[in-house]
Symmetry: D2
Subunit: 340 residues, 4 copies
């Protein structure tokens, strides 16, 4: 059956799997101390224009979020995120499990508002009882957001500026970073992106890899981050699997090419839904698309194509999500014309 | 350079990587809800003779240990292990990070003694102040141990029996399970193994897979174990990568065949060292071999072959570790004759 | 200076301090294994009509909340509370520090709505992705609430009923329990109260004791709760200090008498503010009273009497809090007539 | 019945309880922001000769240990202690509950050996796999130890010197500090003590107070320590109870006078046991005394006087503990002559 269920339904870009096969019996040191990781780190630093950054490879998104956040927070601090942020909703409390509260702000199409962030921090330190509360220790945002939306350069700069004002790091969850940076709506250059935060990760799992997320600490990693990764059970023994994948993705801009393809397929998909008279639920310029339909229509479509019911909409209708990826075939998108 | 550094220096058994390539663009549901996982679970339950078991696939060993242990302990409980147990030494405190103490007993060539375990538990509950201490909530052992040794059937049964007496589960770390079960020294049948504990894992990372550990709860998993896995950052989005690997390894007994090969290579390697007059440090019947040599000799050998310095030995010499694996070539073992 | 800052500005009811002096050099066993604790437990069980309950004495409120909550939740569970609940706001993330998320519902004058609780739980388990979220494991409410309001018997029963429907315990924070039960607005009999929840605590710190909270598990405590208390650093060596205080407070209904006095003083205080034309911010029938005034007025009053600025009110005014207690003197309340 | 069970069987020095009564209805701000705490802090800084120190008051010993340790360690670090250290044995895993491992060294009569500490740290950083282990982040010792023994000035300096070499703080558990400093065997001057560590606490619970431990950070406290205390449930609402007690104990050297009395009573007690032909189990110069006797003798004595069975001794005998305190009456010690 046709599937637009998520961007992790296939394996990996074929060049990755072929290279795994070619290099399979090579013997390398474990835990990321191999030449593939070394090469991949160099390529990532080059791609994002951060020669002095520290790069680490982890396996999955939730793991990366909780490991990075725990490494940056002091024990009495929490992380600020919007209410729809992935860490506060769909990560089974992984952040709280490490002892830290997720402090929530309202979201705007999945995005944090710099003004609201500043007001929150100002009000916090103006409150005479603030020492009885959780001290805000960092800010977490997603690019693109859980709703596929992207921050403009000005918005990112404004958030980063508030963070700098309060001396707290800004962490950007880039589980779908490629789809954000390649979006037509995006005005942030790849080489500018890293300068707008203190740490971010480049999502591999959802953008062409079998698995893997590359964490980039733009000003250097916290002390003993390797040990923190191990302590979180996030250290891959055969670390070269991660190095090889990111090395491949960041050779000749493959990561960005395949991400652009997904965005183009998403635009095509959206145009088909709009032609058919559907309303968008949230207007996303990336690979996740959200539409409104009746529950009957959704039920009928579920028999023909895989997608996710997202949430109820006021009035009884339902919002649904269709996702394209690096692997989406144009013919499958076009096939929707006859289905929806 | 020749390497006997560890059993995770290569990729995976070629049949796994080829199958990854063949199935690469198939679309499947995420998080382990796919037919590869389903099939692999069935094969594992069949292989170990536990039709009612619950099987979960995780990515790595430290991750598996801390996730399983945290899922079984109450917040006031600790896990009993020998002083050389992996969880107490080389996992960066991952168990303590989840709030639990590792309670240590002495080791005997890496093994726990059932009598000492019973004495410990008896003394604990005889101590009038025991409620001020950490309550022992489970027992952790490794099969084979960190020194390559294996428990006899009688030894396992004795430990399990003490656990049952005190109503605490026995967890067996099987990171190298295949090498243990296929050892000439082993008297535990594959289908008997599961009945000697409450939960164990079948190591893939060190026995032919790219990565992956299969956790087998012989009497069923704790409630919401899926959520616990997610909370620990241990849930792989493209879960089928794990299913496919274990499905392959447990088709036609591949897992055990390649494990036996490693043990045979280890026996050959040991015979070469013994011929050359080296003493064994610990007499291991599995794929890890430990020898004693002078520091000068070790330094010289390090220029010719990769292996690990293990620990200082009284008198100034050093113990070293040579490891074979599913991927070890006989010619490379034989080549040691001219090197050592 | 006159102070209505909080209900913990004085020491303890004089009969407690006198008794401490009288019994000072008696030798008793530590950790609560003394006859004062035994007697106090019997009196508490009698007062609340729960002969089979387990009673424990802890030192402070935040400590009691985090210890009780951690003892009842499994590691993958969170606690449901309203957004204004003490555990989610003014406890420095003590609950998250033990690894658990506080799941928030909207508050209504500080109270949880049973209908909203049911909707939350129903929606949670209807969400196909719920296993990726924090499982709701218990409900926390305060009686009276942080705004001094009290639940009616029908409201408590409705919340308890939802909890029973979903098999999760209901925990009532009774830091100011006496003031709630003695309120004119309260329709819950003392001996009925315990049947409406699974565990609650009787606040001593704010109701006549030097310190101390009595936790009552109405159907018995979780296994090894003593060890949990110790692990949380909440076990008082000279436990009899707690027993003696609660024994005194629950002799001849002292606890309730002094609580009623505070409520009467609060009613008098409120009538004075109303006479003077102030608006109430939240209409509280217990010992905490909230009024609205201009910031200039508040600033002026701060020079004459101690009270707390509570929060900004729309339009530029401010809400303030005046608190009476067991120790409040009528003449001091009346003195407000000339001050406000 | 006569009791030498512990040093926390009575209430507090009478001057403390009288002062509680005298000041009972005074209104003061909460959480330690009162003039009693201010005065007590000044007296403590004066007594220990540390004008720039930060002083905090907590309620109990286990609480103080876990709060201070968690405030000083990074998430990947552990605390080094001897195997008999209180934090590793009788605190129900409170340190591990905050996520940190207790790394153990052998004890010598309860004491840590500076040479063994240095060897441990040297070996740790020489181990090529140290990044896979728990990083040692601080050192914990007790003065006097759990066996009543005291470190000499030279021994303390040696341990502190190793800590400085490795840039890790030294924390001294002073639950019985007074009894150590007033011991005839002690050669550390009160005003020298603070310079031999980075943080220590002055035990009140066991030395004349109802409860309370004064933490002294000799070079200043970690950022937001107040919030850490609250997060650990260790913040007393009526903080002045702690201030008043320490203010009293550190007026006119009361703390040291009553501690010396306990040591003198212990010396008397020991002389009586020696006269009667008992062997000491460990030769303690402070208020805890350990003797060896047959199990029959111990059973007989238990019918006449309260004391603790400590541990079995090789050969079938038992070690027992008799404890004196600030409250011990000479006549009760002398009464032992006819009993033992």
């Amino acid at each position: 059956m046709l599937s637009f269920e998520s961007d992790y339904t296939e394996g990996a870009h074929e060049s990755i799997v072929r290279r795994l096969l070619q290099t399979n019996l090579e013997q390398t040191p474990g835990y990321g101390n191999d030449h593939y990781c070394e090469s991949a780190k160099a390529r990532l630093k080059e791609a994002f224009g951060v020669p002095d950054a520290d790069v680490y490879f982890l396996v999955g998104g939730t793991q990366t979020n909780s490991t990075v956040i725990a490494s940056l927070l002091k024990s009495y601090e929490g992380v600020i995120a919007v209410a729809t942020g992935h860490i506060g909703v769909h990560e089974s409390g992984a952040v709280e499990y490490t002892g830290h509260k997720v402090l929530t702000l309202p979201d705007h199409g999945g995005k944090m508002d710099a003004g609201e962030l500043r007001s929150y921090l100002k009000a916090f330190y103006s409150d005479g009882t603030f020492e009885h509360m959780v001290i805000p220790g960092m800010v977490y945002i997603s690019f693109p957001t859980e709703f596929g939306t992207v921050y403009s350069k000005a918005e990112l700069e404004a958030i980063h500026s508030v963070c700098q004002e309060y001396s707290i790091p800004l962490f950007i969850d880039g589980a779908r970073l490629g789809y954000g940076l390649m979006s037509e709506a995006n005005d942030v250059a790849i080489k500018e992106f890293a300068s707008m935060c203190d740490v971010f990760y480049v999502g591999g799992t959802k953008v062409g890899a079998l698995f893997g997320e590359a964490v980039v600490f733009t000003h250097g990693a916290p002390a003993h981050f390797f040990t923190t990764v191990k302590q979180h059970g996030a250290l891959l023994a055969k670390g070269r699997m991660l190095g090889l994948q990111f090395d491949t993705l960041f050779t000749d801009g493959l990561y960005f090419k395949i991400a652009r393809h997904a965005d183009e397929m998403a635009a095509l998909l959206k145009s088909i839904f709009l032609e058919k008279g559907y309303d968008v639920f949230i207007d996303s310029p990336t690979n996740q698309q959200f539409f409104v339909m009746t529950r009957e229509k959704a039920a009928e479509l579920h028999t023909k194509v895989r997608f996710e019911d997202w949430c109820p909409v006021e009035g009884g209708d339902i919002a649904v999500r269709f996702v394209t990826s690096w692997a989406t075939k144009e013919q499958n998108v076009l096939a929707l014309k006859d289905i929806i």
